[in-house]
């Protein structure tokens, strides 16, 4: 049995050039083919003990060149490429998280579902019951997967979405009075108590006689900007981001329909695009540009709902405070 390796030596015996090639291999020493062949043929027990080694060697020889041992540089490179390919495809095909994730994730999912259900009539017009989030971080890396935390979120890989560096919050331009803004836009701008009377007010007309009201405040040489859309935030809005937004609860008291208000906090500059739904249920207004830290939320005002986007407040808790300061029912 100690001759275990001998048979390996003899393995070439059947090949046409076997005899010539046998010796240099030197694995089993200098044995003649005769005894070897016999030894191999005699007991299958032995054959069975060498064959496995040969088969293992065969298996290893299938590994791509350069992969070497498990820790080899070639190997880690290859697997790193595979990681990127796999994660990239998971993103590209918008594969959802394999299972209901953490409780927090499920809770969020439930919130979105409830929210969707409650606003279904409008949303049907807007088609889409899914949040669309375009994510894109080349190289596709770990944090990207965190996106899947959003139940029902579509994630698309788009390496082209890179915010321009050093973008600043755009100012509001020439100012109107709040009253003028209301007359022009057809709705009464919401002014958070926490910010007080805006320094500038602007109304931008969007296609189809829709309007966007922007309020601006100057703070320490920087601009705080609040965009208001007299529309609901479409759950099918898209946000092209390099990292996921954070879901924040706004105030404890759920509004009348039992859905707790929430806000989306985007901590870093990003390319922004989202859809809104007007009173007729038409989806409209999609916008894209680099924005600073942003809080996006909706607020019920009178008959309708207003979607607000706050930019230029870098501190999350302050942003939330500002959003909450709208909770006071009277805005005049």
């Amino acid at each position: 049995m100690s001759e275990g390796r001998n048979a390996y030596d003899g393995e070439g015996g059947g090949g046409p050039e076997g005899a010539g090639g046998r010796r240099p291999r030197g694995r089993g020493g200098d044995r003649g083919p005769g005894p070897l062949g016999r030894a191999r043929g005699r007991g299958h027990g032995k054959g069975a003990s060498e064959l496995p080694d040969e088969l293992r060697a065969l298996g290893r020889s299938l590994d791509p060149p350069g992969s070497g041992d498990a820790g080899g540089a070639g190997d880690s490179l290859g697997s790193e490429t595979m990681v990127e390919r796999v994660l990239g495809q998971i993103l590209a095909e918008q594969v959802p998280v394999p299972v209901a994730g953490s409780r927090a994730a499920r809770e969020r999912l439930r919130t979105v579902r409830r929210w969707t259900r409650v606003r279904w009539r409008t949303l049907t017009a807007a088609l889409c019951g899914l949040l669309t989030v375009l994510a894109l971080t080349p190289p596709v890396r770990a944090e990207v997967l965190d996106w899947f935390d959003f139940g029902g979120v579509e994630v698309r890989y788009d390496p082209s979405a890179v915010p321009s560096p050093g973008a600043t919050v755009p100012g509001c331009g020439r100012s109107l009075s709040l009253g003028q803004a209301e007359r022009r836009s057809g709705f009464e701008p919401l002014v958070p108590d926490a910010l007080g009377v805006p320094d500038t007010v602007a109304v931008t007309s969007e296609p189809h006689r829709r309007f966007l009201v922007s309020l601006c405040w100057r703070e320490d040489g920087r601009t705080v900007r609040l965009d208001e859309f007299p529309a609901w935030l479409d759950v099918g809005f898209a946000k092209r981001l390099r990292e996921p937004p954070e879901w924040l609860a706004l105030g404890g008291q759920p509004s009348g329909d039992g859905v707790p208000d929430y806000a989306l906090w985007f901590p870093r500059p990003h390319l922004l695009s989202f859809w809104l739904v007007d009173a007729d249920g038409h989806r409209f207004a999609r916008e894209e540009r680099t924005a600073g830290p942003t809080l996006l939320w909706t607020h019920r005002a009178g008959a309708g709902e207003v979607t607000l986007r706050l930019e230029g407040v870098a501190d999350k808790s302050r942003a939330v405070e500002i959003a909450k300061s709208l909770e006071a029912p009277s805005v005049k």
């Binding site: 393995e11 070439g12 015996g13 059947g14 090949g15 050039e17 076997g18 010539g20 090639g21 046998r22 240099p24 291999r25 062949g37 016999r38 191999r40 043929g41 005699r42 007991g43 299958h44 054959g47 069975a48 064959l51 496995p52 040969e54 088969l55 293992r56 065969l58 298996g59 290893r60 020889s61 299938l62 590994d63 791509p64 060149p65 350069g66 992969s67 498990a70 190997d75 880690s76 290859g78 697997s79 790193e80 595979m82 990681v83 796999v86 994660l87 495809q89 594969v95 998280v97 394999p98 299972v99 994730g101 953490s102 994730a105 770990a142 944090e143 997967l145 965190d146 899947f148 935390d149």
Partner: protein, 186 residues
């Protein structure tokens, strides 16, 4: 680890992929994916991700993954309607052959190549079950219980089929001499 992936932790799945790319590629190659091995493996990882919800807690990931790789390989080969002929498959193996470290002698290299071809051709002649069990157990270097998990067979079945397959393989190999093979039958 699986739990971390399910919790949506990104790096966890990246780690799984990283740790299993090598063996998965080998499996795809061994099962006949040829030049498609990388695509097959990529697809298998994505499918594994989707199917992670069905992964049994406490089970081993590797055999589970490799059974997906095997499936994917089958599908690919079938879809492309190019089930490789023995010759084509051998050619692929020979191409993929890395340097044999302990031998720079071309004669030796030739011998290695021949021996590989002989092994492969013998493997090819085995029944599907036997080929699979040998592949999982030895070419992919899994232990018996992992092999059993990957193939979905009881362990005893793995053991007996493996024995039979090895014996057949021994008989199929060219250096086997029939006059001495009296005790090689099952």
């Amino acid at each position: 680890m699986i739990a971390r992936v399910r919790a949506g932790e990104a790096e966890a799945y990246a780690e799984l992929v990283r740790a299993h790319t090598g063996i998965a590629l080998r499996a795809a190659a061994a099962l006949g994916a040829g030049a498609d091995a990388e695509d097959v493996v990529q697809q298998a990882f994505v499918k594994a991700y989707c199917a992670l919800g069905r992964f049994k807690d406490g089970a081993a990931f590797k055999p589970w993954l490799l059974s997906i790789v095997a499936n994917e390989t089958r599908n690919t080969v079938r879809t492309a309607a190019r089930q490789r002929t023995l010759a084509g498959r051998e050619a692929a193996f020979v191409e993929a052959e890395p340097l044999i470290p302990e031998s720079t002698d071309p004669a030796v290299a030739t011998l290695e190549t021949e021996r590989r071809a002989a092994l492969l051709s013998a493997l090819e002649k085995l029944s599907e079950e036997h080929r699979l069990v040998v592949t999982y157990r030895y070419l992919l270097e899994m232990d018996e219980s992992e092999t059993a998990q990957a193939l979905g067979w009881p362990r005893g079945t793995v053991k007996s089929r493996l024995n039979r397959a090895l014996r057949k393989l021994g008989r199929l190999l060219p250096d086997f001499e029939p006059r001495e093979g009296g005790d090689e039958r099952e």
